[in-house]
C-alpha cells in the first residue's frame, strides 16, 4: 500500500517541472465537470412536473406579476394539495406568446393584449379572456417637511431626467433635489421610466438622470425620503410608510391633482397606475376557474396587499 502510494508520489516528483500545469488542468477539468453537473440538475423540477400528481396549471408571463403569482401559487397549493401550479416569468410578451402557442393555461400581463396579438390568437383558435387580478399604483413620495404637495407628470419627468434640480423651481424651498429610484431590474423602475419619465411616449429615449440614487430595496427609498428633506422617491403604493408624504399627481397642469389610494387607483383617477391581468383561453373552467376565483376572493387579494400592489376590493 505504502509502496504503491510512494510510487504515485515519485511519479509526480519526476515531473516536477510540469506538475503545476498538470495540476491546474486537472482542477480545471474537475471544475468543468462540476459545472456540467450543475446545469444537468437544473431541469429536474420540470421533469418532476411530468409525474401524475394531480392537475398542473401552467402560469407564465409578466415579471412585475411573477412574485405575486408565485405567492398565490404557493398559498393555493398548500391549501389545495391536489393542484400543482408552475409559475415562470419572462415578461408580458412571453406569457402572451405562450398562451397563443397553447403552452400555458394562464398568461400574466401587466398590459392589455394588442390588437395584433388577439388576431394571432384567434387565427390559432385561441380565444383570450382578460381577467384583471390586481392593480399596480405607484406613489411619489417626499419628505414630510417638504412643502410641495402637487406635481404634474411633466414636472416629474423633468425632475427625474435632471432638468429640474432644485425644489425652488417647483415653488418649494431652495434645496437640491435628491432623486431616489429602485434598482434598474425592478419592474417598478421600468414602469416609472416608460410612463412618467418618457410620459408613455414609445419613441422617447429619455433616461433617468445618472445622479439618481438606485436603492436596492423599498426600505432604502422610504428611509432616505423620510430622513432627507431634499429627497423624492417613488414606489409601489403598498410600500409607502407613515414617515413619507405622498404627492398628489395630475396628468396635466390643469389638474385634477389626485392622491394615490386604493379607491383612486381602482377608479382610474390616479395617473400612475395600471391594471394587472391574467389571460386564459376561453372562459376559465374547472381547476383554473377555481384558482382564479380564489385569486379574486378575499384570500388572494390579501396577498396582493402584502406584496405592495393594490387589491381590487
Amino acid at each position: 500500500m505504502v509502496h504503491s502510494l510512494q510510487g504515485v508520489f515519485c511519479k509526480s516528483r519526476t515531473r516536477t517541472a510540469t506538475s503545476p500545469l498538470w495540476l491546474l488542468s486537472l482542477l480545471f477539468l474537475l471544475s468543468l465537470t462540476s459545472l456540467g453537473c450543475a446545469s444537468a440538475t437544473a431541469p429536474t423540477p420540470a421533469d418532476s412536473t411530468a409525474q401524475p400528481a394531480g392537475r398542473l396549471i401552467q402560469n407564465k408571463g409578466s415579471d412585475t406579476i411573477v412574485n405575486l403569482a408565485l405567492a398565490w401559487a404557493e398559498a393555493y397549493m398548500s391549501s389545495h394539495p391536489g393542484v400543482r401550479i408552475s409559475v415562470t416569468g419572462g415578461g408580458s410578451g412571453t406569457g402572451i406568446a405562450a398562451l397563443i402557442n397553447g403552452t400555458v393555461d394562464i398568461a400574466n400581463a401587466s398590459r392589455s393584449m394588442k390588437e395584433k396579438e388577439i388576431k394571432n390568437a384567434q387565427a390559432r383558435g385561441i380565444e383570450p379572456v382578460e381577467i384583471t387580478i390586481a392593480r399596480d399604483g405607484i406613489a411619489v413620495v417626499v419628505n414630510p417637511s417638504n412643502p410641495i404637495n402637487e406635481l404634474t407628470i411633466d414636472q416629474l419627468s423633468d425632475i427625474y431626467t435632471g432638468k429640474i434640480t432644485n425644489w425652488k423651481e417647483l415653488g418649494g424651498e431652495d434645496r437640491p433635489i435628491v432623486l431616489t429610484s429602485r434598482e434598474s431590474n425592478s419592474g417598478t423602475y421600468v414602469y416609472f421610466l416608460e410612463h412618467v419619465v418618457r410620459k408613455g411616449d414609445k419613441e422617447s429615449k429619455l433616461l433617468f438622470s445618472p445622479e439618481a440614487l438606485l436603492l436596492p430595496s423599498s426600505e432604502g427609498i422610504s428611509l432616505e425620503t423620510s430622513r432627507n428633506p431634499n429627497a423624492i422617491g417613488y414606489d409601489g403604493l403598498g410600500y409607502v410608510t407613515a414617515e413619507q408624504k405622498t404627492v398628489r399627481i395630475a396628468r396635466t397642469a390643469a389638474g385634477p391633482y389626485v392622491a394615490p389610494s386604493i379607491e383612486t387607483v381602482n377608479s382610474g383617477a390616479y395617473p400612475i397606475a395600471r391594471p394587472l391581468h391574467m389571460y386564459t383561453n376561453g372562459q376559465p373552467t374547472g381547476e383554473i376557474k377555481a384558482y382564479l376565483d380564489w385569486i379574486l376572493g378575499d384570500e388572494g387579494q390579501a396577498i396582493v396587499r402584502q406584496l405592495g400592489f393594490v387589491p381590487l376590493h
Binding site: 505504502v2 510512494q6 508520489f9 509526480s12 516528483r13 506538475s19 503545476p20 495540476l23 491546474l24 482542477l27 480545471f28 471544475s31 434645496r175 437640491p176 433635489i177 435628491v178 434598482e183 434598474s184 431590474n185 425592478s186 423602475y189 421600468v190 433616461l207 433617468f208 445618472p210 445622479e211 439618481a212 440614487l213 438606485l214 436603492l215 436596492p216 432604502g220 428611509l223 432616505e224 430622513r227 432627507n228 431634499n230 429627497a231
Partner: protein, 309 residues
C-alpha cells in the same frame, strides 16, 4: 535507557518517507492556492467573454450604465470603485500606520494589552451591520455637516471602508515593526536619536515592506467590499469630475454585481456584462497588487544600503 529510546525511534526510511509526504502535501496546498485564482479567472472569462461579441467596445467604454436599456458603459463603475477606494486609503493608511506606531513603539504595555484585542474586534463586525450603522447613524451627519445633498455618498462609503480596513492595516503594520531587530533601535538611541527620529528614520524604513503589504491588504479589503458600499454609497452611476464627487453618490463595480446579478436572466447580455465587470475588477486588483510588488522590489534594492549610509 538510551538504547531503549533509540529502538523506539522510527527507522530512517520511515522518517524520510514522512518528510517526503509532508513536503508533497504542503506543495499541493501551495499550488492549489494559485490554481484556485487561475480557476476563478478562467470561470470569469468563460462567462464574460461572450460580452465582447454581444456588446461593441465603444458601448463598454461609454459613460452610461443603463443595463436595462442596453447601455453598458463601465467607466462610471470603474471610476466609482476607484473613488471610494482612494478615499478609504487616504483615510485608513495614515490612521492605521499611526495607530500601529503608537501600539508598537509608544503605548505602555497595559494599554497595549487592552487596545490590541479591541481593535481586532472591529475586524469581526459583519459588513451588513456596518452598512446599517452607516445608513442610520453616519450618513445623516455627512448631509448635515458636510453640505452634501444626500448622506449616501462616496465619502460615506470611504469612511466605512476605512474603518473596515483599519484592523488589517494596524495589526500587520504593527507586526512588521515588531519584527525590526531591537539592535536597530538601540543603535539609533546610542547615536543620540530621539524616540520619534528612531521611529521615523529607522523603524518605519526597515518595516517598509511589511507596511506596504498591510496597505495592499487594506486596499484589497476596500475595493472588494460589497454590502456596506451598496447600502451607503447611493449607487448612482455618475462620472466623478471634480473633488466634490466625494460628496456625491457613486456606484461601485462590486455593488453593481451584487445588486443586479440576482435578477438578471442567465445567459443574457446583461449577465455576461456583469461577468465582464467582475473581470475588470479582478484585473484592476491584480494590477494594483503588481504595481505595489514592483514598487516594493525597486525600493528594496535602492534602499538596501540606506540604513548603513
Amino acid at each position: 535507557m538510551t538504547t531503549a529510546s533509540a529502538s523506539k525511534e522510527p527507522s530512517r526510511a520511515v522518517v524520510n518517507w514522512r518528510e517526503f509526504a509532508v513536503e508533497q502535501i504542503v506543495r499541493l496546498l501551495g499550488l492549489s492556492a494559485i490554481a484556485l485564482v487561475a480557476l476563478i479567472f478562467a470561470f470569469l472569462l468563460k462567462e464574460g467573454a461572450a460580452t465582447l461579441q454581444e456588446v461593441p467596445l465603444s458601448n463598454l467604454a461609454g459613460t452610461r450604465w443603463y443595463p436595462t436599456f442596453g447601455y453598458f458603459g463601465l467607466v462610471p463603475l470603474v471610476m466609482g470603485s476607484l473613488l471610494v477606494t482612494v478615499g478609504a486609503v487616504l483615510i485608513s493608511v495614515p490612521l492605521g500606520v499611526g495607530v500601529a506606531i503608537y501600539l508598537g513603539e509608544i503605548a505602555p504595555e497595559p494599554l497595549r494589552d487592552v487596545l490590541k484585542p479591541t481593535i481586532e474586534v472591529i475586524a469581526g463586525i459583519p459588513s451588513v451591520v456596518l452598512g446599517f450603522i452607516g445608513v442610520l447613524a453616519f450618513s445623516p451627519l455627512i448631509r448635515q455637516y458636510l453640505g452634501a445633498p444626500t448622506g449616501l455618498t462616496a465619502i460615506t462609503g470611504s469612511v466605512l471602508l476605512a474603518y473596515m480596513a483599519l484592523p488589517t492595516i494596524i495589526s500587520i503594520a504593527e507586526d512588521a515593526m515588531d519584527a525590526v531587530p531591537k539592535s536597530y533601535r538601540d543603535a539609533a538611541y546610542a547615536l543620540g536619536a530621539t524616540e520619534w527620529q528612531t521611529i521615523w528614520r529607522v523603524v518605519l524604513p526597515s518595516a517598509r515592506s511589511g507596511i506596504l503589504i498591510a496597505i495592499m491588504l487594506g486596499v484589497g479589503r476596500a475595493i472588494g467590499e460589497t454590502m456596506t458600499v451598496m447600502m451607503v454609497t447611493g449607487n448612482a452611476a455618475r462620472i466623478p469630475t471634480s473633488l466634490d464627487a466625494f460628496l456625491r453618490p457613486a456606484r461601485t463595480m462590486t455593488a453593481t454585481i451584487a445588486a443586479e446579478m440576482g435578477e438578471v436572466a442567465q445567459g443574457s447580455t446583461h449577465y455576461h456584462v456583469l461577468f465582464m465587470v467582475g473581470i475588470t475588477l479582478f484585473v484592476l486588483t491584480f494590477l494594483i497588487n503588481a504595481f505595489a510588488a514592483v514598487a516594493l522590489f525597486r525600493s528594496e534594492r535602492r534602499g538596501g544600503g540606506r540604513l548603513l549610509s
